[in-house]
């Protein structure tokens, strides 16, 4: 699976069945870290806490279930693209074999918005996990 948007969430948003306010000051958006055990389908796996995003989450003394809160979210128009940016995150003392980063809306139905697939597992043993998106998390072209 490649990284991408959750289409079911975005369909519901487009049809006004839900209203997501992702920018800072709006909804609380979190970034949960999972190992490689989930078998995700971005078309259907819509909710954090429901399969497959209900098992395989990383742990550790500094990691709380659900992951870190994503701060500084902002949309900006850059050339021909609408870009979502966020502040870099750092979580101390994380343990597990990282593969997926799941961005989900803790305010609106635990909706999964975006999933990053690292393609393989990366072991962490009680060490910091730092996540950034220097080029934006996603970019919507006109």
């Amino acid at each position: 699976m490649a990284s991408g948007l959750n289409l079911t969430t975005w369909l519901a948003w487009a049809q006004a069945a839900i209203v997501l306010d992702l920018e800072s000051g709006g909804d609380t958006v979190k970034c949960a870290a999972f190992d490689g055990s989930p078998v995700p389908n971005l078309d259907t796996d819509t909710i954090y806490g429901a399969a497959p995003w209900n098992a395989g989450e990383l742990a550790g003394g500094g990691y709380s279930a659900g992951g870190a809160t994503v701060a500084g979210i902002a949309y900006t128009i850059e050339s021909t693209r609408l870009v979502l940016r966020h502040t870099a995150m750092s979580t101390a003392n994380v343990t597990g074999d990282l593969r997926y980063l799941v961005f989900w809306d803790d305010t609106v139905g635990d909706r999964v918005v975006f999933v990053a697939d690292l393609g393989q597992e990366f072991p962490l043993l009680a060490e910091p996990l730092n996540v950034s998106s220097p080029d934006g998390l996603y970019r919507i072209r006109r």
């Binding site: 490649a2 990284s3 991408g4 948007l5 021909t80 693209r81 870009v83 750092s90 101390a92 994380v94 990282l98 980063l101 975006f114 990053a116 697939d117 690292l118 393609g119 393989q120 990366f122 962490l124 060490e127 910091p128 996990l129 730092n130 996540v131 950034s132 998106s133 220097p134 080029d135 934006g136 998390l137 996603y138 970019r139 919507i140 072209r141 006109r142």
Partner: protein, 65 residues
């Protein structure tokens, strides 16, 4: 006249290799900046440093052509 002693390439104190410029890099792939590249794909660049595991997401382009 004694021959000049060549500086050893391997520094047993640091476990690193020394190049001719005297710069150090490790034998385990950790560069001078202390960064070990774990993966570099279309989705993310993953490295390990003293600060932990660092994931730089590349972002995803949606729509357009």
């Amino acid at each position: 006249m004694p021959e000049p002693t060549a500086e050893p390439l391997f520094d047993p104190t640091t476990g690193k290799l020394r190049d001719r410029a005297g710069l150090l890099s490790t034998a385990r792939g950790i560069g001078p900046a202390g960064e070990q590249l774990l993966a570099d794909t279309a989705d993310a660049r993953v490295t390990r440093t003293d600060a932990g595991v660092n994931v730089q997401l590349r972002g995803v382009d949606v729509g357009g052509s």
